[in-house]
Amino acid sequence: MKRVITRGAAPMPIGEAVPRRDGVDKVTGAGRFTVDLGMPGLAHAKVLRSPYPHAEIRSIDTAAARRHPGVIAVVTADDLPDVHLEYGHALADHPLIAKGKVRFAGEPVVGVVAEDSVTAEEALRLITVDYAPLPFSTTPEASLAEGAPIIHETPGEQRAHRGFVEDIQRDHPNVCSTARQAWGDIDDAFARADLVLDGEYRYPRSYAFAMEPYNAIARWAEGELTVWTSGQHPYMVREDLAHCFGLPLSAVRVIVPYVGGGYGSKSYTKVEPLTAALALRAGRPVKLVLTIDESILTTRGDAATVRLRSAFDREGHLLGRQATIVLDTGAYAENSPLVGRKAANRLGGPYRIPALEVTCTSVYTNTNPASSFRGFGAPQVTLAGESQMDEAAERLGIDPVELRRRNVLRPGERPWKTARGIDADLLADLDLASEALDWGSPLAPGRGRAICLSASDAGSEPMTSSILRVHHDGSVTVTCGSTEMGQGSSTVLAQMAAGEMGVALERVHLLQSDTAAVSYDRSTGASRTTTLMGLAIQAAAKDARAQLVQWAQENLAPDGPTVIEERDGVHIGDAHHDWGAVVRSFFGGSAGEVVGRGYIRRHGATAEMPPFWEIGCVGVEVSVDESTGVIRVEKLVTVGDVGCA
């Protein structure tokens, strides 16, 4: 007999603007970033970097540095025979410290650990490295030319489980990966076209400039490793550290405090393996803080050359797009195989395109490694695609917004056969942007307007979990592997937990990004946290509530009256019992807690890929000074098609 009634299903407390939970921390200077942390016995590291873009390392003389007062350890690759030096996201091609040769100017060659960072820096100057410079390539064109220097003599070990097996191909030794996307009959599309546009678009190398530079602290104890880091993906970093040091995942703890900006640049693993290796040899906890100059050398955005052909009919309908994209990956793969995969997926934009053919090749060069930065893959290809939309509008005599209206995907329509349908209203987005920009009104001389769109397969992968604990006073601790890096996750996730459990926000504590204390989350990026971690917290709360209702039935209403589930507890007869009372009744004492579990995977609402689409809709009015060429953005309009908020 069902004796549980649910009434007043818990509403999500969304739509309410509450003060940010990291606000006081951040305006008082009390909030701690990794760079602010210290601990007893902490030693400090500095890194000697290669001045050559490509060179053989003949020998390294560290004797004088080792003798320098205050130096604790001087570490080269030869000092780390017990460490698996190569790590990486898509493939393990990136040594944590150069072994045998250097592949870009700025690559770490020697690490010095000393009592303070000035002493470590002094010791760097006492090190002599004998390099034999090699021919080098700093552009993809040079890397693919006849007789080009080979940057990786042997391919890096594939990290098959990270999902790049199809894209990692070694057709040419300097090719890192090749991503393809294709559908429809591309030859037919161009044969039927009334207008064919053909252009080459170059997107430069870029640097994210997160204001907190890359830094980490590593501490070994009892054979286990703890790392505090400015990186935004604690679980990815944990896996790379376990790989480098031959440890079970459970022996590596990665903790991420507040992160001082990332914008993608703090995705995946950066300084953590080197810091941990230095701590291992030093026998002391070690802190490595890069300068901004060193951070620039550590990761940048991928430069791209996009050759794009677009086919239109005379009414402005896109018939096909064909593209060849070449990415400048730099010396190591980092996340460029995924940048390439996303560039291929995102080239079509939010448009209905009957036929498409894209090949995106990531090419090794002797430059600093490229990786994620701001919607990676999308800016590179959107520049090309949207330029041709405007050019087509002009050539066909159609208003540029109207041309886009004729091509945008409608809600639920799939960009390609196996993709999730578009979960956005692009016509409404265009209306909002047009209205805000006063589209169609007369323009002053020297002024111009444009509205551009993009569509990104966002959310990464649905591999997320959360544990939500309701304590015996009814307060809630919710744990998650998502990092607070300014986006406000510490507030919105706590709001969700409060709403799901029907408790005041002040009674919810959110614990983030400590792999020993929170359960698995793939990453913080691709705009995934609110959606995927939000779903995990919702599921964990549902699991906790189900247990609590069952406990109430068994312990507070045995053979008795109906249990009515309410927003913040249960109602039995004339009595209301909050969640704390239910917890206490289960344990038969004065304490205890319930543990709710939430798992999000490729199942149910998150079965289809991508987990969601992310729409870019931006309008600008610019002025151009015709005598100097200076362009000024006079008005900027952005539309966020965010769904329920």
């Binding site: 305006v27 701690r32 602010d36 942390l37 601990m39 994210a208 997160a210 001082g260 900006g261 959110l510």
Partner: protein, 178 residues
């Protein structure tokens, strides 16, 4: 290992004497010797403004200001803005107007804004933009920061929100002690 000298200065209203190396910057001394890690270092080259503190009421970049030059002077940092557990008007305005995201530039931004309002209590929008030109923010796009400073200029100099500091966020609870 390295020669040190005595430095005596006023830090947020308290006289402090510390032994410092002549090469040490004010940012080093505040962060490492006095554990005032609210002052951030980013570019380390007097470009980004993250390390802005006030020395005798003048906004300076602590990353390139030699600590010994602060001898006998009055230094104010972000830790000195709140009094008796109450946020000052700029701090409260930054919260109310979403004047930060990651928060790394925020201490420097608050100190530059403090100097600005002390110099010009009722600045216009252009004056605020000009006054904060030396401070980079990579998250917000600046508009909310300017809004916050303008809002603070319209408020009395002390906020009347007791308990505003009661809630502390939790992201670093598991971290080591500084």
């Amino acid at each position: 290992m390295h020669e040190t000298v005595d430095l005596t200065f006023d830090v947020n209203g308290t006289e402090r004497t510390v032994q410092v190396e002549p090469r040490e910057t004010l940012a080093d001394v505040l962060r490492e010797r006095l554990a005032l890690t609210g002052t951030k270092v980013s570019c380390d080259a007097q470009v980004c403004g993250a390390c802005t503190v006030l020395v005798d009421d003048l906004a300076v970049s602590a990353c390139t200001y030699l600590a010994v030059d602060a001898d006998g002077r009055r230094v104010r940092t972000v830790e000195g803005l709140a009094t008796d557990g109450r946020l000052d008007r700029l701090q409260q305005a930054f919260i109310d107007h979403a004047g930060f995201q990651c928060g790394f530039c925020t201490p420097g931004m608050l100190m530059a804004a403090t100097a600005l309002l002390e110099d010009d209590p009722q600045p216009g929008r252009d004056a605020v933009i000009h006054g904060l030109e030396g401070n980079l923010c990579r998250c917000t796009g600046y508009a909310h920061i300017v809004d916050a400073v303008l809002a603070a200029a319209d408020r009395p100099a002390t906020t009347d929100r007791p308990g505003a500091m009661d809630r502390s966020a939790s992201a670093d609870d598991a971290g080591p002690a500084a």
